[in-house]
C-alpha cells in the first residue's frame, strides 16, 4: 500500500476529501458573513441558524410535499432568503445607527430562538436526508473511492462561491453594493435605493447559508444543533481571513477546512481545535487577518 508520511494514502486522501467538504461549507458561510458585514456592518450570528433552516426546509419539503432535492436546492434558499429579508426590514434595520455590537446581540437572540424552536418541534437528534438518486453511489478512482455526492458538493459550492464573487465584483448590482459599502449617503444621493439594497444583501446572505444547508443535509444529519456547531468555527475562519475581501473569505474557508482534515490524519485529538490554534497564531503574526484591510 502506498504511504504518505507513514499514513496510508487512502486514509490521507479520504480525510483530505472530508476537509475539502468542510472547507466548502466554511467558505460558503464565511462568504455570506463577509457580504453581510461589508454592507450592513452587522455580524450575522444567525448565519448558523439560517444554514440549519436551509437543511430543515429541504427535509420538510420532501416529507410534506414530496419536493425533491433539486427543487429544494432552489426553493429552500428562496424561502430562507425571504425570511431573512423580512427580519432585516422589520427589526434589524432599526439597529444600523447603533454600535455594531447590538446587531451581533440581536442576531444571537434570533439564532437562539430559531434553534430553540426547532429543538422543541423536532428534538435534538439528527434525521437523515437521503442522497438524490442521480448522485448516489461512487466512483473508484483507482487510488481511492469517491462518493459522487461528495464530489458534487465540492464542485457546486466552488461554483456558488465564484458566482457570488462575480456578482459582487463584475455586475452593476455588485458595483452598487460596493459603492454603498464605501459611502451609503453618497450612493443614496445618486438615486439608488440603499435600504432596499441592504434588505437584498441580508436576504442574499441568508439564502447562501440556506444553500449550504441543503448541500449539507445528505452529508451530515439534519439536526437543530448543526448551525451552532459550525458558526463558531466560521467565526474563527472570518477572524483568520479578515472580512475585507470576498475572495479572502473563500480561500481561507477552503484552507482551514483542509488543515482540519489533515490534522485528523496526523493528530486526531487536536482536530477540533486546530482552526482556533491557527486563528491564535494568525492574530500573533498578522492581527488584521490574512486578507484583512482594517484591524
Amino acid at each position: 500500500m502506498t504511504m504518505i508520511f507513514g499514513i496510508p494514502l487512502q486514509a490521507f486522501l479520504g480525510q483530505l476529501l472530508i476537509g475539502l467538504i468542510n472547507g466548502s461549507f466554511y467558505a460558503l458561510l464565511s462568504l455570506g458573513l463577509a457580504v453581510i458585514f461589508g454592507l450592513l456592518r452587522v455580524i450575522n450570528f444567525a448565519h448558523g441558524a439560517q444554514y440549519m433552516l436551509g437543511a430543515f426546509v429541504a427535509m420538510l419539503l420532501l416529507q410534506y410535499f414530496g419536493i425533491n432535492y433539486w427543487f429544494a436546492l432552489i426553493l429552500a434558499p428562496l424561502i430562507v432568503g425571504l425570511f431573512g429579508a423580512i427580519i432585516e426590514r422589520t427589526m434589524l434595520s432599526r439597529l444600523y445607527d447603533l454600535d455594531p455590537l447590538y446587531g451581533l446581540l440581536f442576531t444571537f437572540g434570533l439564532a437562539l430562538t430559531i434553534e430553540g424552536t426547532f429543538r422543541y418541534l423536532y428534538g435534538s437528534s439528527g434525521q437523515p436526508y437521503t442522497v438524490p438518486p442521480q448522485l448516489a453511489g461512487g466512483i473508484n478512482l483507482g487510488f481511492m473511492f469517491l462518493p459522487i455526492y461528495r464530489g458534487w458538493v465540492v464542485v457546486i459550492s466552488l461554483a456558488a462561491c465564484i458566482g457570488t464573487w462575480l456578482l459582487i465584483e463584475k455586475t452593476k448590482l455588485g458595483a452598487y453594493l460596493r459603492a454603498a459599502t464605501e459611502n451609503p449617503v453618497l450612493v443614496q444621493a445618486f438615486g439608488v435605493n440603499v435600504p432596499l439594497l441592504l434588505t437584498l444583501t441580508y436576504g442574499l446572505g441568508a439564502a447562501l447559508a440556506a444553500f449550504a444547508g441543503v448541500l449539507a443535509a445528505p452529508v451530515y444529519q439534519v439536526s437543530p444543533l448543526m448551525g451552532s456547531n459550525i458558526i463558531i468555527v466560521v467565526f474563527a475562519v472570518v477572524v483568520v481571513g479578515g472580512m475585507g475581501s470576498i475572495m479572502g473569505a473563500i480561500l481561507t474557508g477552503y484552507m482551514l477546512g483542509i488543515a482540519e482534515g489533515l490534522t485528523k490524519v496526523f493528530y486526531p485529538e487536536a482536530s477540533n481545535i486546530v482552526i482556533f490554534v491557527i486563528m491564535a497564531i494568525v492574530l500573533l503574526i498578522r492581527p488584521a487577518g490574512l486578507f484583512g484591510r482594517d484591524a
Partner: protein, 332 residues
C-alpha cells in the same frame, strides 16, 4: 435644619448628594433583604442567584465600563469551577483555598485569552473570545482531570478556615453572601479608582486615550484579567454550592446567558446585572419544571431587549422621571 444648610449649595452637588443618600438607603434595604432572605426562599436557589449576579457584574466590568464585549466569559466561570472542584476534591484543600485556586486559574486564563483578543477591536474582539472559549470547551471535553461528559462530581464543601461546617446550607449561604459582597466591593472600588476612570475614557474615545499617552492595550488587558478573576470567584463558589463542575458552565450558551443578564439589567450600571441575573435565574427555574424550552424564551428576551430597551431595567429606571427625581443619572 439640614435643608437650610443644603439650600445654597450648587444644584449639581445637591443632586449627587441626593443620589448617594438614596443609594445608601437602597443599599441598606438590599443588605437587610439579603441577610433575612434564607428564611423565605430555598437557600440553594439564593446561592445560585448570588453566584450568577457576581458573574454578571464581573462581566459588566468589561462590557459596561470598558466597552469590550466578551463572548467567552464561560471559560473563566466554568474554568474556575473545574479548578476549585479539582483542588478541593483531589488535593484536599480547604474551601477558601480552593476558591482562591479557581480565581488564580481564571485570572491566568484571562491573561491568555485577553492577550490574543485585545489585538483586535469591536466585533472581532467578540468573535475571538468566542472562538477561544470554544477551544477551551473542547479542551475540557478531552482533558482527563475534568472527567469529560461526567464532570467532577460530589465535590466536598469542607470546613471554612477549618472551623465552619459548610455542609449546613445556612452557613454556606452566608459564606456565599460574604463572597458576593466582597466581590461587589472590589468591583465598586475598581471602577471608581483612577484605573477605572481610564477604562471609561477608553470606552468613550479610545483614540483620545491613546493620544493622551495611555497604553490602552495594557489597560484593556488589566480590565480583562480583573473581570476574568471575578468571574472565576463566582464560578469557584458555584462549584462548592452545587458540589459539581460540568461542561455546561464552559459552554458558549453560558457566555450568552451572562450577556443577557447584563443587557437585561442594564449595561454599565453597578447593580443592573444583579437584577438581570435574578430575573434570568428565576425564569429558568420556573421554566425548568415546564416542557417549554428555555432557549426560545432567552432568545426572544434578547431580541426584545436589543430592539426596545437597550438601557436595561435599571438603566431605564435611572433615566425615568422617578429615577431622575431620586438623583440618579444615566449616561450613554
Amino acid at each position: 435644619m439640614s435643608e437650610i444648610i443644603h439650600a445654597p449649595a450648587k444644584p449639581r452637588t445637591e443632586r449627587a448628594g441626593t443620589a448617594s443618600r438614596t443609594f445608601a438607603a437602597f443599599l441598606i434595604i438590599g443588605l437587610v433583604l439579603l441577610i433575612i432572605a434564607p428564611a423565605f426562599f430555598y437557600p440553594i436557589f439564593l446561592m445560585k442567584l448570588l453566584c450568577f449576579a457576581l458573574f454578571a457584574c464581573a462581566f459588566n466590568l468589561l462590557l459596561g465600563y470598558t466597552g469590550l464585549l466578551s463572548f467567552g466569559h464561560a471559560t473563566f466561570f466554568g474554568g474556575a469551577a473545574y479548578f476549585t472542584a479539582h483542588a478541593v476534591k483531589e488535593w484536599g484543600l480547604s474551601p477558601e483555598l480552593g476558591v482562591l485556586v479557581g480565581v488564580a486559574g481564571a485570572a491566568g486564563l484571562g491573561l491568555i485569552v485577553g492577550f490574543f483578543a485585545i489585538r483586535r477591536q469591536g466585533i472581532y474582539f467578540a468573535m475571538i473570545t468566542l472562538a477561544l472559549s470554544q477551544m477551551f470547551f473542547f479542551f475540557c471535553l478531552q482533558a482527563s482531570f475534568t472527567h469529560g461528559e461526567d464532570g467532577i462530581q460530589s465535590v466536598p464543601r469542607g470546613h471554612l478556615f477549618g472551623l465552619i461546617d459548610l455542609n449546613s446550607s445556612t452557613n454556606m449561604y452566608y459564606f456565599v453572601l460574604a463572597v458576593f459582597l466582597i466581590g461587589m466591593l472590589v468591583i465598586w472600588r475598581f471602577i471608581n479608582s483612577p484605573f477605572g476612570m481610564i477604562l471609561k475614557s477608553i470606552r468613550e474615545n479610545e483614540q483620545r486615550a491613546v493620544s493622551l499617552g495611555y497604553s490602552v492595550a495594557r489597560y484593556k488587558l488589566g480590565a480583562f484579567v480583573m473581570s476574568a478573576a471575578l468571574a472565576g470567584l463566582a464560578g469557584g463558589v458555584k462549584a462548592l454550592v452545587f458540589q459539581f463542575a460540568t461542561l455546561t458552565d464552559v459552554a458558549w450558551q453560558m457566555s450568552g446567558e451572562v450577556i443577557l443578564m447584563t443587557l437585561l439589567g442594564g449595561i454599565g450600571t453597578l447593580i443592573g446585572p444583579i437584577f438581570g441575573a435574578g430575573l434570568v435565574v428565576t425564569l429558568e427555574n420556573y421554566l425548568a419544571t415546564s416542557q417549554f424550552p428555555v432557549t426560545i424564551v432567552t432568545g426572544v428576551v434578547f431580541m426584545v431587549c436589543v430592539l426596545l430597551f437597550r438601557r436595561g431595567i435599571i438603566g431605564e429606571f435611572y433615566a425615568s422621571r422617578l429615577g431622575r427625581k431620586l438623583g440618579f443619572e444615566h449616561r450613554r
